[in-house]
């Protein structure tokens, strides 16, 4: 009985690995995509949540743009190691190397969009699961310093499409839902 269980377990492991690799391969094949998002941020220091909406675009290998249209127009662009934030006429440029916490947050989204599992694994302990056609990536920071700022990031999706990103940070929670746009 025990032996059978072990064999079943052994058989199931590659299947699991194949699952995450299939999903990643599918994501990696998408060279360019656009989507609309809506986001709510709740933090313990504030009553109520802060909502926002806008568009997301991705271009392989490393460019992500988050264009918020409401409530305040804002454009966040990450390309290579440079992050640019434009808001209320001000433009801030940040090298990701100077801000490890920001880099980790960026790599969670960018690594997923790029289908780059090794990259994700350098920052996070990655746990993958599938329920029917929906997959789920739970990311837990590897470094203690990062873990004090970000507790977990959970990304869900179907096929090559990311559906939700839920980030838990410093007792707050940010939920983003994403819909593809042709």
């Amino acid at each position: 009985m025990m032996r059978w269980a072990l064999i079943l377990l052994a058989l199931s492991l590659p299947a699991h690995a194949a699952g995450v690799e299939d999903v990643m391969r599918g994501l990696a094949a998408v060279r360019e995509s656009r989507a609309v998002f809506s986001e709510t941020r709740s933090i313990p220091e504030l009553d109520g949540a802060l909502p926002s909406r806008g568009t997301l675009s991705w271009r392989a290998p490393d460019r992500v743009e988050k264009h918020t249209t409401e409530p305040v127009e804002e454009r966040l662009t990450v390309e290579g190691d440079t992050l640019t934030l434009e808001r209320r006429g001000a433009r801030q440029v940040l090298s990701l190397d100077t801000a490890p916490e920001v880099r980790a947050l960026v790599e969670a989204i960018r690594g997923t969009l790029a289908g780059d599992l090794p990259r994700l694994s350098t920052f996070y302990d990655v746990r993958f699961s599938e329920t029917g056609s929906e997959w789920r990536l739970a990311l837990y920071p590897r470094s203690v310093r990062l873990a004090s700022a970000v507790q977990s990031i959970v990304v869900t999706g179907r096929g090559t499409q990311i559906a939700t990103v839920e980030t838990q940070e410093r007792g707050g929670i940010t939920r983003m839902s994403i819909e593809a746009r042709p």
């Binding site: 941020r41 918020t68 804002e74 934030l85 090298s95 190397d97 100077t98 920001v102 310093r145 940070e169």
Partner: protein, 773 residues
Amino acid sequence: MTRWLPLVATLGLLLGALTLTFRAAPPGGDMADFLPRSDRAEARFLLGELQTGAATTLLLAGIEGAEPGELARLSRAVGDALRTSGNFAFVANGNQDVSEAEREQLFAYRYLLSPLTEPAIFTAPALRTKLEALLDGLGSSAAPLLRQFGFADPPGAFIALARGLIGTSSVTLREGVWFAGGEAGPRALLLARSRANGLDPVGQQTAADTIRAAFAAATPGSARLLLSGPGVFAAEAARAIRGDVEMISILSAVLIAALLLWRTRSFTMLALVGVPLAAGTLAGFLAVVAIFGSVHGAAFGFGMTMLGVAVDYPILLLTQREGTEALAATARRIWPTLRLAALAAIIGMVAMLGAGFSGLQQLAVFAAVGLLVSALVTRYLLPRLAQPFGIAARPLPDAVIALLRAMPCARIGALALIVATAFGLLAMGGPPVERDISALSPVPEAPRRLDAELRAALGAPDVGTFIVLPAADAEAALQASERAARALAPLLADGRLAGLDHPARYVPSATTQRARQAMLPGDATLREALDTARAGLPFRATAFDPFLEGVARSRTLPPLSATDLAPGSALAARIAPLLAPDAAGWHALMLPAGLTDPDALRAALAGETGALVIDLRAELSTLLGDASLRAALAAALGAALVLAMLVIGLGSVRAGLHAALPIAGALLLTIASLALLGERLNLFHLAACLLLAGIALDYSLFLRRLDASTPTAEAARTLAAVLTCMLATLLTFGLLAVCTTPVLRSIGLTVALGVVYAFLLAATLAPRSARTT
């Protein structure tokens, strides 16, 4: 075989003694011996900094020639190895330099250290503005960053503090490691400060070797390590000079040997020439050790060059033998002339004792004692050693002798040339003099350029003007730096000054920290202001508790001491070069950037007693000018002494002037030629001129003995002897003139040109003899 014994034994004994002496008292390398002294406070400070200042312990490293990832790995490996080596007070190569503990300390001290701290920032209206901005920011993508500090520090004191610490370097971070910005290929940067002070050449060498070893141990593959800094420079300079000198000594030894072989057809001649030289070197070396305790490497090097005159003595003796005359008789015959030449040269050297550098004094003692002993050995010992060998110089071809003996016909032309040159030099306001101290640096061009590149990349550009604030202790120095910064604030505001770095920027004086503590509101006051500020905003009541706690804690913290920071911390690294103890107490350094109006800067600091505003380039030029002037005066005094010596030795003013004329003429023509070649005169040219004068003295004294009554055979011998001396010198110094090291090139060019002029002038201005033959 027995005839060889005395010569071989003497030479062996001398060389053995020389080797033992070198072992017992190896030449040292303290460059302070060659730095001039000055009474100006600015110059004194500068010289002190050049020797022991924090800048002298800095090492800059670049790693290039591989992919950025690989370079980052190497930089991290080297950095870790250096930190554990114990040879470095501070190592920085990326963002890991600010440790978690230091960040926490800075955060705890934010209201004591930050320039933002004012009573106004804790009032309800000011807090309201900050809270609204925070709320707006929380809705943006920057929210994660804002949450980190926004609730514990809504006035933004810590952010202001951190921004000040980062500075203005063009360093970019890749994978957590510093990289040089810019278009060129990727280059990882590393900065280290050695524990050994700048005056300790062995310690500096060890520090540089530690970096090289750490790099080699990190399996660098194709990557290269570039290393710079004062310590590396010293080693680099020594290596460059050594390389040049080795090449030159071997080549010139071969050429001189060939010349002497051609003239005398005797290998023994070479050994004989070596005897007075070795004896002179030994005596000079021992004399310097006896007087100064040790010999400076550079004094020894230059001294050896000066002692080159001594090579002429045996040549003059051995090639002037008449037929089968006993060499002792030859020595007796030429001794009055040889003695006068040597004494005059020694007198000239003695004048250098007044030059004011310990290095030049050592050089003078070395050369004077060396020449004296060489001359005595040539007179009393060499004839006995050489007698058995029957060396005789081959006569020069008749045509050459005839030409040389006919030269006095051109004396009017030669005199006219000297006068014209003198007027020419006067008309152009004297020869161009070197004012740029960097041109004197023995460091070759390439490492100097690398240093400038690394410095610029690390945001530590060469300092032009800086301000020194002397004080009794560190606290007083910090207070002075705060007062001066306030005095200069208007210049910063209107752009006459682009930036100002000073120690109180990083750690304010305890007085200022206590004053800031006194500005902090009490718990109840702050809570009330905060409640008013947050009215109508969606912040929860407990949201700003970390802020209230932080301010409460700040009120009771003991002031952070600038001299008590954790070694190796980023703050200590920033403040160490700007605040340091010195002989008189402490001093703070202020470094202005982008200064456009130095007069306004001086005027603004007029109230700060004791403040020194130092314009580095101008100060160094003045220093150099003063030193050159003093050396020139010493040389002029030497010239006067030599002339007096000649007048006494030759028995009449007329004869003395006549003997001095070719020497003065040769110096004049040489200086004019150097000016025509675009050379700017510096201290090394001057030293070379002293040597040249010594050599020219020999030529003049020996050739002026020829006159109408001199038999042709003797005249031919003397001319041949002096010509051989001149060619030997030319072969040595002509080679030096093609060196890359500025020092050697200056000396080589001066002496090579000079000996040719000296010989031609001495032959031309000799008493008329051509008509009678």
